[in-house]
Amino acid sequence: MSLKNYKLPDARGYFGPYGGQFVPETLMAALDELIEAYEEVKKDRSFQAELTFYLQHYAGRPTPLYFAESLSRYVGGAKIYLKREDLAHTGAHKINNTIGQVLLARRMGKKKVVAETGAGQHGVATATAAAKFGLECTIFMGAEDVRRQELNVYRMRLLGAQVESVTSGSRTLKDAMNEAIRYWVTHVRDTYYVLGSVGGPHPYPTIVRDFQKVIGEETKAQVLAQEGRLPDLIVACVGGGSNAIGMFYPFLEEEVRLVGVEAAGLGLESGRHAATLSRGKVGVLHGAKSYVLQDDRGQIVEAHSISAGLDYPGVGPEHAYLKDIGRVEYTAVTDEEALEAFKLLAKTEGILPALESAHAVAKGVELARELESEKIVVINLSGRGDKDVYTVARELGVTLGE
């Protein structure tokens, strides 16, 4: 099951048949510049020391690996551990990547950054890092998400970012990403594009993975310290797939079962879901070849999930590869199951998970239930659920004051 000498992507940014650089020619020079700059900082100790410093003292790393005793007892199966990315600054794993990329942008002499955001978590994390390091920041967000995630919009504005509401297409993450890329094409000479997931053209899937792999590296050290061995199973949610890759990557060569959980929305058969790996076909979206939710005419279709962060019809190319070779199992959890998991974690552990992460909790709990009590399951709790309280209330038929 485990891989040996895993060294992808190749020089052209491919994970097997997936990845590459499918962007307008105008951006190719910027991608070349980025590849070169990234290769440099990877080897640069002062950059790595700076990154580590801010991750520790600013973002609050390492985040705990927490034995969820009450939840485990309730479930009555394996020991469940939660990797507490919800405790990182800004409330999700997104900050790991944005601090890294904004530091990189600064090294490259860029004065402005642009980013797309779905739920607003990556937008907030980008605006936060941009504020901290003094860069101008523009965030594109689908008009539908602006409506759903009002609080995060205001957070970004408080952090000094310009938030642009995108009214084209389905008005969600995919369209925000189109618009962010168009903005980047137009301002490519002085602007750095902070991509928030492990999708997009090479080298982004690699850069984002590398900045997120701290999640898995910490988890490995923590579980060894607490249990003296590696876990049997790790579960993470997959939208574009950044928290999952960050968690899985350091375990690809280990004998650990890895499960990625997509959003099944109203059910895989309903057609209203965001389960790109489960139900998509190979295609090209936003600069990379990967699985894509599309119709038989090659048009991208709208995804659906209760969680705005998973509501995306594409997925990172490395996940596509890991699915094909069978190293990671990908499955999907419905809106309803995620909501149940949200409530369960709140009641048993006093933790409100992000609805994204609640998908991982739902599957993690289901799988842990079937395992013996000496087994160890790690669930990546990629973000906290404060941002979702309005959504959850609405779904549960509760009206909150405006």
Partner: protein
């Protein structure tokens, strides 16, 4: 010689420049789209680019984005655009080029799409999200069907890339005038001239300029530096006015013809 090569050779021998007109296949609907293509040809376009609508057109500004949405809503797609090309080819002898993002082509299958494009009577393809690095397979396959894969070069393209791209090219070179997306603009950046000069130095192939061009003054400004200009959004805007009910169909076709004639007169 290919149809594209022939047109430019004729233009050159007469000391003229080519006018390339873009229209979205199926905008505002499939029937009118064919009439628009015929109008473009009849009023003097030397080559026509037919857009294949895509839900997520990264390289396009709002005008062409909306044209794509209208075309999709009218039932256009890969099959329909191929049929449109075939219908246009029945009556027109000028070169027809398909402009499509990669994904719809992949769903039909590269080889199958190219074969059918050639059968329909297309002369080439422009794929705005397919840089040279990713395009080798398609370029080779296209050549096998006698289709040119027309490359784009941008103001940000460095000298080395430029040499590589131009070295593999066929048909013509599509120079992007601005760092930006498609859409008519008031003026062109001064650096456009140096980009065109740089490209001309590297190739005998025709070099054409597109993105942001819709005015006679702009064309007058750069026509000595290139072999042709590509006009898209400025024409599509007229179709948009029709879809908004601001003008009738005959007026739309008349305005399109006038626009082509006006721009052509400068070339």
């Amino acid at each position: 010689m290919s149809r594209i090569g022939q047109v430019f050779a004729e233009k050159r021998s007469r000391g003229e420049k080519a006018l390339i007109a873009y229209t979205m296949g199926g905008d505002p609907n499939l029937t009118l789209s064919l009439e628009i293509i015929k109008t473009l040809a009849a009023s003097g376009a030397d080559l026509i680019e037919v857009g294949l609508p895509f839900s997520d057109p990264l390289a396009d500004g709002p005008v062409i984005q909306r044209a794509g949405q209208r075309a999709l809503a009218a039932g256009s797609g890969p099959e329909e655009v191929l049929a449109l090309i075939a219908a246009a080819r029945q009556e027109l002898s000028l070169p027809l080029v398909i402009m499509s993002y990669l994904n719809p082509i992949l769903q039909i299958g590269i080889d199958e799409f190219l074969r059918r494009a050639a059968v329909a009577g297309a002369d080439g393809l422009i794929i705005p999200d397919l840089p040279a690095e990713e395009g080798e397979e398609i370029r080779a396959a296209a050549a096998g069907y006698g289709l040119d894969l027309i490359p784009l070069v941008a103001p940000t393209t460095g000298q080395k890339r430029l040499e590589r791209i131009v070295g593999h090219a066929s048909g013509f070179i599509y120079c992007v005038s601005v760092t930006g997306v498609t859409g008519a603009r008031d003026s062109l950046p001064a650096e456009v001239k140096s980009l065109l000069q740089k490209v001309k130095k590297l190739t005998e192939l025709p070099v054409c300029l597109g993105f942001g061009i819709g005015k006679p003054e702009q064309i007058a400004y750069i026509k000595d530096y290139c072999d042709g200009v590509i006009v898209g959004s400025a024409l599509v805007e007229i179709i948009e006015d029709y879809t908004k009910g601001e003008i009738k169909k005959d007026k739309m076709l008349e305005l399109i013809a006038k626009k082509v004639q006006t721009l052509k007169s400068v070339l």
